[in-house]
Subunit: 268 residues, 2 copies
């Protein structure tokens, strides 16, 4: 059976009293753990239904891996104001809290109204259709099944790690499309769907769990693909950050995100 | 009466059942609204007491301004794990929710273990003692009373806005000291205590309310002052971000923070 596309994979069913049921899909995982971007996108969908508004800034703290199967999202309104509604959510699976979320919901301006832009959209060497799509390797498990769900076209300079040739720069640049119409949950997914930046960094770093992810949604993409530029500048004190900038094909800013990950201690 | 120093200003008194009482001090405000960094630092103190751990990543959503006087912080543990405790808090004043917080608490490594550093600490032109301290102007209200509470030595290139000469770059660089021993709440304060970056940007931007602030604490400063480098790259879609990097005098990374602020619509 083919795993569901993004819209279906992130669907929620209301249970009443602010709770939602979720069927976490198979085939959206990395080494067995469901992608954190999908989980936050799904929770955003529950909070959109609950608040009647769209996510402007959302923070998730990841407490435990989520496996395919039934999960529950419990939402709680903190404040409904004139411009924003602030709310929390917890995603749990088999009575275990797996993710805690805090976000503010409002409106997304269609008009970019750019007053200041002090960075250029990341440049990719060709249009999406002219670049190779990353595909999952079912036998090895990496690239993970997730890569067959989302259309990702990595910058060739950043793709060498898959053949054992890391670029030396902790950066991943790509065209990304969720294979569904863009909506705010799709933007959230795009912020957390590329391979880890540090796969390109020549570091003794392996599985890097995410502690926290914050996404600022600035706009909804007006084009089929977005450009995602993810970078890590600081691996220290046992932690590293991943900063992502998302732009649409026209160069409009779509989102900024940052996550905090843990550097595993080297085997001693 | 002299307003309290940082340690006293951010003190909390346990009320039992996870609640804490706070006396929000006068003299820590900007145009009547208490500084958001102080409020998050104070809430961090309550959560440190509750979790027995120190903040690693903290997110605050600001719902309403906080005035000097009594406030209450209600905390709630989400999960206590082996390495991290995740918890939420709400700060309320006169039955009104003013701030919602989500954070994870753990330990801060004393050894920096720098595996990757892809940016240099911001350079200030002289040692803190050789640079002018920003002082409040009680008559005009700006610089605000807050400037007399925290020791801030702005880079001369970024200080011209006070004399009506904005640099044109949405950036503020400074030495900062809380005038008290450094602790994690002091680091949080340092992330949100400089004048708004956009005061230097030649933009028709006035009072800019903060919607959300996220702080990643990497280390506790080993020196009296820290270097703070705050920048804004994108003012668009009615919002702007402020990214801050905090380093100690030796050049060790102390914290990364990002906040999302609202661009007020121009008067029509």
């Amino acid at each position: 059976m083919t795993p569901p596309d993004f819209a279906e994979a992130s669907a929620v069913t209301p249970l009443g009293e602010g709770s939602y049921s979720v069927e976490v899909p198979a085939g959206w995982d990395v080494l067995g753990a469901t992608n954190g971007g999908l989980l936050l996108a799904t929770t955003a969908r529950a909070l959109m239904a609950e608040t009647g508004r769209v996510p402007v800034t959302l923070t998730a703290h990841y407490l435990a891996p989520v496996a395919p199967g039934r999960a529950t999202i419990a939402t709680d309104l903190v404040k409904r104001g004139r411009g924003f509604t602030t709310a929390t959510a917890r995603l749990s699976q088999q009575e275990r809290d797996c993710m805690a979320v805090l976000g503010s919901f409002g409106t997304i301006e269609a008009d970019p109204q750019v007053l200041l832009q002090d960075a250029e959209p990341v440049v990719l060497p060709a249009a999406p259709g002219q670049m190779d799509r990353v595909r999952a390797d079912a036998e090895v498990g990496l690239p993970p099944p997730l890569m067959d769900r989302v259309d990702i076209r990595l910058h060739p300079q950043d793709a060498g790690f898959m053949a054992g040739q890391a670029s030396g720069q902790a950066r991943m640049r790509a065209w990304v499309s969720p294979g569904a119409a863009w909506d705010p949950p799709g933007v959230i997914l795009a912020c957390d769907v590329l391979p880890p930046t540090i796969f390109n960094a020549n570091l003794p770093v392996n599985w890097t769990p995410t502690l926290e992810l914050t996404v600022h949604v600035r706009s909804i993409p007006g084009t089929e693909y977005v450009r995602v530029d993810s970078r890590t500048r600081f691996v220290s004190h046992g932690r590293l950050e991943v900063d992502s900038l998302v732009w649409d094909e026209r160069g409009d800013l779509v989102a900024q995100s940052r996550q905090l990950m843990l550097v595993p201690r080297p085997a001693s």
